[in-house]
């Protein structure tokens, strides 16, 4: 359907985002929360739901959930309550999920999107942030006729962030998700990777005639594996709903699955209608009563959020708005830049290098900035060596390449490769004389007053010295050697 065909309808979107908290151990037991272990090895009586086992809540999980809630401007409830959500599924060991239901950890927050674009910023309300545990993993395609269950992930701590239906387009939903991801990453709450499953998005979408205020019947869209998939799924589902409504039909409240390869949403085949979760307060966990002083401390200790960092960096390092925006898109990148800028005492060079050489190198290596071999202190030292004329710019690039390969500090690489600038007169004189001898025509023209050839000759000397010659000294020495 064309955009024009949907023009008289408005999309209404609310998002439910599940985020895995960055803890060492699971939410309710001390099993490792790491990915990648052989199946069913990060398990214990509690997360296997053995008869008699009981949950005990991870303090750090609460702290990270609080950080997220406070970063999203939520009001934290002094008392919140865990509940049991009862349903049978083979990767849900207890037959219920421990989650928060009618008394969540935090409520009534917001997030402002589109602040940097030219149009008006949109404030998206956060209905609630609550804590829960993840289920295990069901693998349906490994053995014929059977489902394989791995409970390593069972019990890993999650928060669910539920937004108000405040978004009006797929683009707004995308902007919300990108900003949310950025904030959670800055706050150190989560790895927020959709690929690794540490961030999952379900979307509630409905359509209504533009100008009306009553919400239409919504569907819940699941199974999107990237932000752009969310955007495409929303557009597709919206178009489907509008087509239905235009034809005089009604939208059915149901769960839709996004099929990325076909580019369409289809009703889920799971028997959603029979769900009666029989929520009741989890008797194994007393109400979570927070020490509000602790909550205050957690709030004060939240790492700097993107907005604040953007403004601070622009001012402190004299960056353009565009550069600051680009740099702070990723928490890791901006931290890296700041460390380099401080170590090098040269923010401008730091910016050029981080946006240029460093970005190129991590993209080429396919690693994240945290995994990058060159530590910011070492890059800072490298830039200082350039500034102090110990290395030429050309040599610095070669040193950097070696640092990327070896992780060694710049001084050591420069020494090993013999790349430090050579300012020693006798060596320089030797190279200059050789160049004059090997290029008699240019040498003659230069002697005859064609001074613009100075640059060419210096370049040749630099080349001969493999970049090690100190160009300032070569420039000084060249005229007198030419005369002699």
């Amino acid at each position: 359907m064309s955009a024009a065909a949907t023009a008289d309808y408005e999309m209404v979107v609310g998002l439910e985002v599940h985020v895995q908290l960055k803890t060492r151990t699971k939410a309710f037991c001390a099993c490792s929360a790491d990915f990648g272990a052989p199946p069913n090895t990060n398990v214990c009586p509690v997360c296997l739901a053995l008869p008699g086992a009981l949950p005990v809540l991870n303090r750090h999980a609460v702290e990270l959930a609080l950080r997220a809630a406070l970063a999203l401007e939520c009001k934290v409830n002094e008392t919140s309550v865990f509940a049991r959500k009862n349903y049978f599924y083979p990767d849900l060991p207890k037959g219920y999920q421990i989650s928060q239901y009618d008394r969540p950890l935090a409520e009534k927050g917001w997030l402002t999107i589109g602040e940097l674009d030219e149009h008006t910023p949109v404030r998206v309300g956060i209905t609630r942030v609550h804590m829960e545990e993840d289920a295990g993993k069901s693998v349906h395609d490994r053995y014929p006729g059977a489902t394989a269950i791995d409970l390593n992930r069972a019990g890993v701590p999650l928060i669910e962030i539920v937004s108000e239906p405040d978004m009006r387009s797929a683009a707004e939903a995308g902007a919300y998700l990108r900003l949310l991801k950025q904030i959670l990453s800055y706050a150190g709450v989560s790895d927020v990777s959709m690929e690794e499953g540490s961030l999952r998005v379900d979307a509630n979408v409905s359509a209504r005639i533009r100008g009306t205020t009553k919400l239409g019947t919504k569907t819940e869209v699941k199974n999107m594996n990237s932000f752009s998939a969310v955007e495409r799924a929303l557009d597709s589902e919206f178009a489907r709903q509008v087509e239905l409504l235009r034809g005089g039909g009604t939208v059915q409240q149901q769960t839709m699955l996004w099929h990325g390869t076909k580019g369409e949403t289809r009703p889920s085949r799971s028997k959603e209608e029979s769900h009666d979760y029989r929520y009741f307060p989890e008797p194994d966990l007393p109400p979570l009563v927070l020490d509000m002083e602790w909550v205050g401390r957690v709030g004060r200790e939240i790492p700097e959020l993107p907005d604040a960092r953007r403004k601070r960096m622009a001012e402190e390092f004299k960056l353009s708005a565009a550069d600051a925006e680009l740099l702070t898109a990723s928490a890791g990148m901006s931290e890296y830049f700041e460390a380099v800028a401080r170590a090098s005492l040269d923010p401008k060079a730091a910016l050029n290098w981080v946006m240029g050489e460093v970005s190129a190198a991590i993209n080429a290596a396919g690693v994240t900035i945290d995994q990058f071999a060159v530590r910011p202190a070492d890059l800072g030292e490298l830039l200082r060596m350039v500034r102090d004329d110990v290395l030429s710019h050309t040599a610095a690039k070669r040193v950097f390449a070696r640092m990327v390969e070896t992780g060694k500090p710049p001084a050591q690489v420069a020494a090993e490769e013999g790349l430090q600038k050579i300012g020693d007169d006798s060596a320089l004189v030797g190279w200059i004389d050789e160049v004059l001898r090997e290029n008699p025509a240019e040498a003659t023209r230069y002697r005859n007053g064609e001074t613009k050839l100075q640059g060419v000759l210096v370049g040749l000397v630099m080349k001969k010295s493999k970049g090690r010659a100190d160009p300032r000294k070569v420039n000084q020495l060249l005229p007198e050697r030419a005369r002699s």
Binding site: P45, L50, P51, G52, L54, V56, P90, R278, D284
Partner: protein, 501 residues
């Protein structure tokens, strides 16, 4: 060191002595723990504890019990502290997780399941020198008041084998009553320790909710469940509770309240103690034999210098309806894990996963468990939650307030009958709700979370009758003090109409 002469009959005699004497003898090297283990197993043979007769145990492990007894002997040889239960043979209810022996909860769904970890209470027993000799029979998942609901056949009452031992901790009560062990662990949700203790003529303690860790106790009604102790005497149960009580990092509901030493002074009077007699526990239709023994117990209290005061707990009559909403609701969720996926019974089905779930649970659960899971699922389901579950939890608040008010009014403990009648015959109670009424005097303490003890207060036609002492939260000391005084006052005092009549 050359051990002094020991004889198996010394061990047999010790088994009939108070725990303190038995343990002291072991610590001083006067008796070998392995002899006590042998004496316990011999006694079990003598009384007919086996399947065909009393049917007390679902599992025993003589070999391993003997091994642990020998390790204990080595410990004593190295002069290391063997603990407050050194060498004492102990029986453990089958819903408490133990290594090596199965933990079936009296259910087919866990037939042959051996727990790969051990309950905190069992770890504490072992750390204090107890030797676990077996797992005791019980109503399936502790749902019942007669031990007739065990998937492995009923336990019989050692006092009268035509009668039930009570339940659900019937096997543990019978093991103590038959003289096989001095001490056994049971569990309580609505009276499952006190009621069988009363039926078998022994002492049974339900501690304050949170006093004892539930880690490793297979959950029935999580907000009500508590591990309890059964013993021959008040003192024995106090020693047992001291060992298993205390905060546990593995149980969020275990309380961080220090466990005192339960000092029981011989010949101590109860001057100044105020004993409440709640009228709701003495209804008009109460079995006259029970009423009579209670009055005599109250007289005994008065003789010891205590003041008996008439009090009221106005919401008492709601305790059974509240209990039979809350406990099944929690049970329906707690028993969802028995799904044939990770452990226990799995019954294959042609209709895939759902068929497997349904067949496994249909075959695995007995009729009473099915009934309660269905009841609990119903009261939690959409449309009924407020009318049943929420309502029941609100009335529960009022029941708890009754206790708080009465204890705030200056009453130290309450005294009531433990059960409305003495032990009934096997098969005598057929209607489920009539069976539920066995808990009528005990369920309130679980709903309010307060501690309570059942003490023998006499017999009628040879059948034991129990009196119940209820105290405020974490006031087990007052409870034991009153119980100890009563026990001593009644000792050897044959009441009219008692004996073989």
């Amino acid at each position: 060191m050359k051990p002094p002469p020991r004889a198996p009959d010394l061990a047999r005699k010790l088994l009939a002595q108070p725990l303190t004497e038995c343990v002291a003898c072991v610590r001083e090297g006067g008796a070998l723990p392995s002899d006590l283990v042998s004496a316990a197993f011999d006694r079990a043979d003598d009384v007919g504890a086996g399947r065909e007769s009393l049917n007390i145990f679902l599992a025993t492990d003589r070999v391993r019990a003997t091994e642990s007894a020998k390790e204990l002997t080595a410990l004593i040889g190295r002069a290391e502290a063997p603990g407050n239960l050194a060498g004492a043979p102990v029986a453990v209810k089958d819903n408490i997780a133990t290594l090596h022996m199965p933990t079936t909860c009296g259910s087919k769904v866990l037939e042959g399941y051996v727990s790969p970890y051990e309950a905190t209470v069992v770890r504490r027993l072992r750390a204090n020198g107890a030797v676990i000799i077996g797992k005791t029979n019980m109503d399936e998942f502790a749902m019942g008041s007669s031990t007739e609901n065990s998937a492995y056949g009923p336990t019989r009452n050692p006092v009268d084998i035509r009668r039930v031992p009570g339940g659900s901790s019937g096997g543990s009560a019978a093991a103590v009553a038959a003289g096989i062990v001095r001490l056994a662990l049971g569990s309580e949700t609505g009276g499952s320790v006190r009621q069988p203790a009363s039926f078998c003529g022994i002492v049974g303690v339900k501690p304050t909710y949170g006093r004892v860790s539930r880690y490793g106790l297979v959950a029935f009604g999580s907000s009500l469940d508590q591990v309890g102790v059964l013993g021959r005497s008040v003192e024995d149960t106090a020693i047992g509770l001291e060992v298993i009580a205390g905060c546990d990092q593995l149980d969020s509901t275990s309380a961080d309240v220090p466990v005192p030493r339960y000092e029981l002074e011989k010949n101590a009077r109860l001057d100044g103690l105020v004993i409440g007699k709640p009228k709701e526990y003495y209804p008009e239709g109460l079995d006259p034999r029970v009423a009579e023994r209670c009055e005599r117990a109250l007289d005994a209290f008065r003789e010891l210098g205590a003041e008996v005061r008439d009090v009221s707990l106005p919401h008492t009559s709601y305790s059974i309806p509240v209990y039979y909403v809350v406990a099944p609701a929690e049970a329906s969720s707690n028993l969802a894990r028995f799904d044939g996926v990770r452990y226990g019974l799995r019954v294959a089905s042609e209709s895939g996963l759902t068929g497997m779930y349904e067949a496994t649970r249909a075959r695995g659960f007995g009729p009473e468990v099915t009934r309660r899971v269905m009841l609990g699922t119903y009261v939690l389901s959409a449309g009924y939650y407020d009318a049943y579950y929420k309502k029941a939890q609100s009335v529960r608040t009022l029941i708890a307030q009754d206790f708080r008010d009465v204890f705030l009014s200056g009453v130290d403990v309450l005294f009531t009958p433990t059960t409305p009648t003495p032990a009934f015959e096997l098969g005598a109670v057929k209607d489920p709700y009539e069976m539920y009424l066995s808990d009528i005097f005990t369920a309130s303490a679980n709903l309010a979370g307060v501690p309570a003890i059942s003490v023998p207060i006499g017999t009628a036609s040879g059948l034991p009758i129990g009196g119940q002492i209820i105290a405020g939260h974490f006031e087990e000391s007052a409870m034991f003090r009153a119980a100890f005084g009563l026990e001593r006052a009644l000792a050897g005092k044959a009441l009219p109409g008692e004996g073989s009549a």
